[in-house]
Symmetry: C2
């Protein structure tokens, strides 16, 4: 309990984020220690290859390639390896030996979070993960600590910088998706295998974490209805632009009918929406509290330094608790709300349907919507080339299940040539 307590910190992984964490930790050790009320000591750094070149100068005596040794004697373990294994095994082992664990590993948490929270509680230690959602933007703190006195009804955010960059590129250059993806890869904003980002899995993991925290329930990544941006076309973007809207990949977690709606999907947003102006690599999350109203958190959602900032803030809290007692807030699950099935989610859509230019087609299309209980808000017919007509419709709110059934019926109809756009509308 004295100010001279020593807190030994092991870092697993010395990639972009790990190197930055180590660099700042060495450079500002005294300042961080003063805040924690404890002396921070770099214990071990686990790396894959002891001889690889590094962007930060680490004492060779603490570099190690043996996970067992890296965990040994650590009060705090910072896991920055990423992915499920060996991260899962090492985090479990660290918690079992009573170390506090700090991780930025959203895939790990979205898959094994509940197990790890229980393990931490069982061994009377803590798990911190601010860096797992939206980089330096303190959304985990916001949900876990600073809004804990309020009743959150809705969380909606842009939590993936790669897809936001790609959609921005498409909007500013008119490029098709595949072209914008190549540009993002060339600019270092998308990985060689972009699947986790562009298919929405990364955003879904963050959505699961935010939904669990906001609604005090266990929401796993599998329960999040997820749609990526790979089917968004240049024509979709052009439609958005002409109608005063933008397309953004949203993560939404909401209380609905006593259950949780948890979704990731590309959506049309009006330009006046506060998320419409969030560009490039920026992330933003809006929390709607019953008393607080609408709060927005905005900042850099990725990158070595912003993510390191989140990790080090967790480290100060963790070290302070190790030295002076106290705990991170428990992961509460007292509400245990179920997740709403995708078919039950009320949605609005914009659809563009290609039909032949013959009499009665519009009546046929309208009839299909009406048959499935879907009311249309606007209908617009544009005559294309080659005796074709594009029918653009926006629906009133309908259940996703009814929309799915109507889409199937449209696809089967002999009067429908193709459905060229299927876009969610969010207000």
């Amino acid at each position: 309990m004295s100010n001279s307590s020593i807190v030994r910190v092991s870092v697993l992984g010395a990639g972009t984020v790990g190197s930055e964490v180590i660099r700042i930790l060495m450079q500002r050790r005294d300042e961080l220690g003063a805040r924690a009320g404890a002396e921070l000591m770099l214990n071990k750094v686990l790396v894959r290859n002891l001889n690889a070149p590094r962007s930060v100068d680490i004492d060779p005596g603490i570099l190690i390639d043996d996970p067992e040794v890296a965990l040994d004697g650590a009060d705090v373990v910072i896991e920055l390896i990423g992915g499920l294994e060996p991260a899962f095994t090492l985090v479990k082992r660290a918690l079992q030996q009573g170390s506090t664990v700090i991780t930025g590993n959203k895939a790990l948490l979205a898959r094994h979070g509940p197990h790890l929270y229980e393990l931490a509680e069982e061994h009377n230690t803590d798990l911190y993960y601010e860096a797992a959602v939206a980089g330096a933007v303190p959304i985990v703190y916001g949900l876990r600590e600073s809004l804990t006195g309020d009743h959150i009804n809705r969380v909606v955010g842009i939590v993936n910088g790669t897809t936001n960059f790609i959609l921005d590129q498409m909007a500013s250059t008119g490029a098709e998706y595949s072209q914008a993806l190549s540009q993002a890869q060339a600019a270092g904003f998308a990985e060689a295998d972009p699947t986790a980002d562009v298919e929405g899995h990364d955003a879904a993991a963050k959505c699961a974490i935010m939904a669990s925290l906001a609604f005090h329930s266990r929401v796993s990544i599998e329960a999040v209805s997820t749609e990526g941006i790979t089917t968004v076309s240049a024509a979709d973007i052009e439609y958005a632009k002409q109608s005063g809207q933008v397309i953004k990949l949203l993560a939404v977690a909401e209380r609905l009918q006593g259950k949780i709606r948890a979704e990731v999907f590309p959506a049309l947003l009006p330009l006046t929406h506060p998320l419409a102006a969030v560009n490039g690599a920026y992330n933003a999350v809006i929390l709607e509290g019953e008393a607080a109203g609408r709060l927005m958190f905005y900042g850099l959602g990725a990158g070595g330094a912003p993510t390191a900032s989140a990790v080090l803030s967790d480290l100060v809290a963790a070290a302070s608790h190790r030295a002076h007692g106290g705990h991170a807030p428990r992961e509460l699950c007292y509400a245990a709300l179920a997740v709403l099935s995708p078919e039950q989610i009320p949605v609005r859509y914009y659809l563009r349907i290609r039909v032949p230019d013959t009499a009665g087609v519009l009546a046929e299309v309208a009839g299909i919507f009406s048959h499935h209980g879907i009311s249309l808000e606007t209908v617009r017919q544009d005559h294309g080339d080659r005796e074709e007509v594009h029918i653009g419709v926006t629906t009133h709110e309908a259940l996703q299940g009814d929309i799915n059934a109507a889409l199937e019926a449209l696809r089967k109809s002999e009067q429908v040539l193709s459905i060229d756009s299927i876009l969610r509308i969010e207000e």
Copy 2:
């Protein structure tokens, strides 16, 4: 340390915020208790008049008009009286008896904060004050906890809803200040005596609190250079509009030359600035962390419910610490940076100077600036009526002391009829 711990909560003051805190506390006692891991019990509610009508139904057995009795047996004391006395005396007494104190009283903190932090430490208890800055926007948490691993270089925000509403009114209706103030008073956005808001004192108190937290130093309200909005004219607003800018009352706390710049002033902001779009009663604060980059927090800065949300979040943290051990982060002052004197602050200005339409006037005016080492970025002459000319100048960065000297020289010059606009420019 068990989940059945009882935490007794006394609320001092049952005005707008107090009533809302009590209402939510009674309505969601179980949920808040589950989060705190303790049973929350409303102990006493201190009111001025026992028989006054109330917006919330309080058990008459706990209503009390005697402060001594209200504090008696309280684990947590929520001070929502406001102002310096009797709040100061009661908060001191509460800390001395070891109660945790939660307050939304920025005037109290800006004046007596250091004394109260020490008192809390001395009696091994905590002081929470999320509600003191920007209502439900968790800026105190952001600075005190979630960015504690980073090195903050700058905090800039709109933290007073009344002045923001008045400046908005002026911009949208073209009204003069006094007229917009009356409208704000009629709409309930300004008090009968608006001094604390319009003269910038309320924003200065918040600036002092934010600067102290961001820079781990003691900054009192007296050290904040403060200018309100009472001299902003319809012509100033019109100039802003025509030049693609808006005028906002800013609170700025910044590391500069190894000291702290702490200021409140109305400033011209370009429309592209993220604070330019913060309208009406909304507050927004940008934190610039060395690693995190620029983070923005945005939300409702005042009002019963948003402020109650902040108080109740503090209550959950306080109750959890009472029941399970641990403390709020200490108020650290290890940096102990001095505050930069106003004359040493580098600033940029827009000035509109009325002169007679005679030869050599511009040279005279330009000479005065040059004599004081101030370089001009743009100069624009407009011929007004009655053989007068308006000279509008924007300066490059200069020291406030030099600007003051130049303004004095301009006022003394026989060639200057009046100085009609003196506006800071912020980028």
